[in-house]
Symmetry: C2
Subunit: 314 residues, 2 copies
């Protein structure tokens, strides 16, 4: 089953306590697509400038990602982000942003991209997200990412867009900011009342939680000795999460139940954990599918406990 992602393609300059790297290939659509590529066909829609070369395109191509809708803007520069992390790797500090071709981006989807059955709207302007969703009429599962910036500056458009998707992914603070609810349970319920039937709360080093009308599910982040570069972790999570839902759909023509979404959280968690082990796309670009299988199995073991109860007294 085909997945389309619309989002940024970027060059990232990143410094962490473990080193620094210049102008690495990055961006939400790239991190998502590489992660989702393990589950089936992925098409990327996004703009690049003349500084985007075949070498960059090959990173995606080697993972089978279809880049026909990567729009190369003549005379333009690719979106650039420079940031750093201190020892608290949960918080990215932005030092410089150059929108470049991303500033005037208007998504243009080919017939093949429009024909996707699963759509991921990475973090871009909410009304652009809505326009893309409207074009993908066959999509059976549409997931949306956003951020505090859009909650502050395009709140109404964001709510309008949320009303049209099946699943919303945000971090805890953004879910609270968007709904004005201190309780995440209430925030999720408020959002489910407005359209989506699944809310994913991203929690950085603490993992992720899922709310659906059927209930609650949560997983810790996969424990790692060292996190080298958290950039793109959220989009890699989304790639594993959405990708595994597409693979389930393709294999079984099945319903996207709470159980399917919960399992998808494990694939998201696994992909995010690989992403942060090295700078940029390095780790996921050379990942093997057996490694994903192993890590998901390890997550099973790390979250299971004895069913036999201990004796209680009144």
């Amino acid at each position: 089953m085909s997945v389309t992602v619309v989002g940024s393609i970027a060059f990232d300059t990143v410094a962490t306590p473990f080193g620094s790297r210049e102008r690495m290939l990055g961006g939400s659509a790239v991190h998502f697509a590489l992660a989702a590529s393990f589950f089936g066909e992925v098409r990327v829609v996004g703009p690049v400038g003349e500084d985007f070369t075949d070498e960059h395109r090959d990173v995606l191509r080697r993972r089978g990602v279809i880049g026909e809708d990567i729009e190369r803007v003549a005379g333009g520069r690719t979106f650039f982000w420079r940031g750093h992390y201190d020892y608290d790797l949960n918080t990215a500090h932005t030092d410089e942003t150059q929108l470049g071709v991303f500033g005037a981006f208007e998504p243009k989807l080919s017939a093949e991209s429009r024909a996707c059955e699963v759509l991921f709207l990475a973090n871009i302007q909410p009304s652009l997200q809505r326009a893309v969703a409207a074009q993908c009429e066959r999509a059976r599962f549409v997931a949306l990412d956003s951020m505090n910036y859009w909650i502050e500056t395009a709140r109404e458009e964001l709510w309008d867009t949320i009303a049209r998707v099946d699943c919303l992914l945000l971090n805890d603070a953004e879910l609270r900011m968007l709904t004005g609810e201190a309780s995440l349970v209430r925030a999720a319920r408020a959002l489910m009342g407005r359209g989506p039937s699944a809310i994913v709360a991203k929690r950085g080093e603490y993992g992720a939680a899922l709310f659906t009308p059927e209930g609650f599910f949560a997983l810790p982040a996969f424990p790692l000795e060292s996190v080298v570069d958290p950039t793109g972790a959220g989009d890699s999570f989304a790639g594993g999460f959405v990708g595994s839902i597409a693979a389930h759909e393709g294999a079984n023509q099945g319903e996207i139940t709470h159980a399917v979404l919960a399992r998808a959280m494990a694939y998201g968690t696994a992909l995010a954990s690989f992403n942060v082990e090295e700078f940029g796309t390095d780790r996921v670009a050379r990942l093997e599918s057996e490694e994903i299988v192993e890590r998901v199995e390890e997550l099973q073991r790390m979250t299971r406990f004895l069913e036999e109860p201990v004796p209680l007294r009144a």
Copy 2:
């Protein structure tokens, strides 16, 4: 199997966004003992002043907690804490502390308290904790709580005490502060090299994680619509955690394996979740054991995912 806890008995004045209450019964030993009382016999060792009345003693008595080693100091005042929480309920802000009789506390254990097989050293001066541990020679499982204050002011004594216990419970930031490791995996390994065979990382609204030589386990906090008063959540967690280990021991004379500790995390999580639903000890004091069983079963459902993998492509 008998559990002894040594720690504070307190009066707490607490304000949260949901209300405020004055001079409620609290303290680490009290919250621990009430939670652990569902699993077997619990003895409390700690000092109180003349302001501690039969009414307070009855809260413990009704849950079957043995208060013979609660030392009433003539002319003294019970430890008093006043604090508040803002919308971020993970952070307690201390407004006033009056040590009272707790300032000169020297634990005196009766023969029965010393004969415990499971010992919980709640958050007090590390050398007092060590002295208590030395008296409880029969204890098969000793767990220790501490805090940033002791890491800063009594670091060497704390390390000495840690070397003598089986299990250490701290929050993530304290584990990092104590070991100087940014990675929690490395922090836990460093600590396991110094004595304890189990490290519990307490994570507030994000739940808790367990590290043992056999591996990693984590559980989310139980999702609640409203958290009214987080005071004592960590000690209630410890009460459920340590209490369930004692019950397992008593029932099975079994080894305290990784699997037993992982299940204990679920009981700790359940008890902590009840604690925070109301002010002070109100909720746990009237809790029924069936409610604990139900919540642990719900935690099973909230953390389990389909074993059947999705198909991956190379």
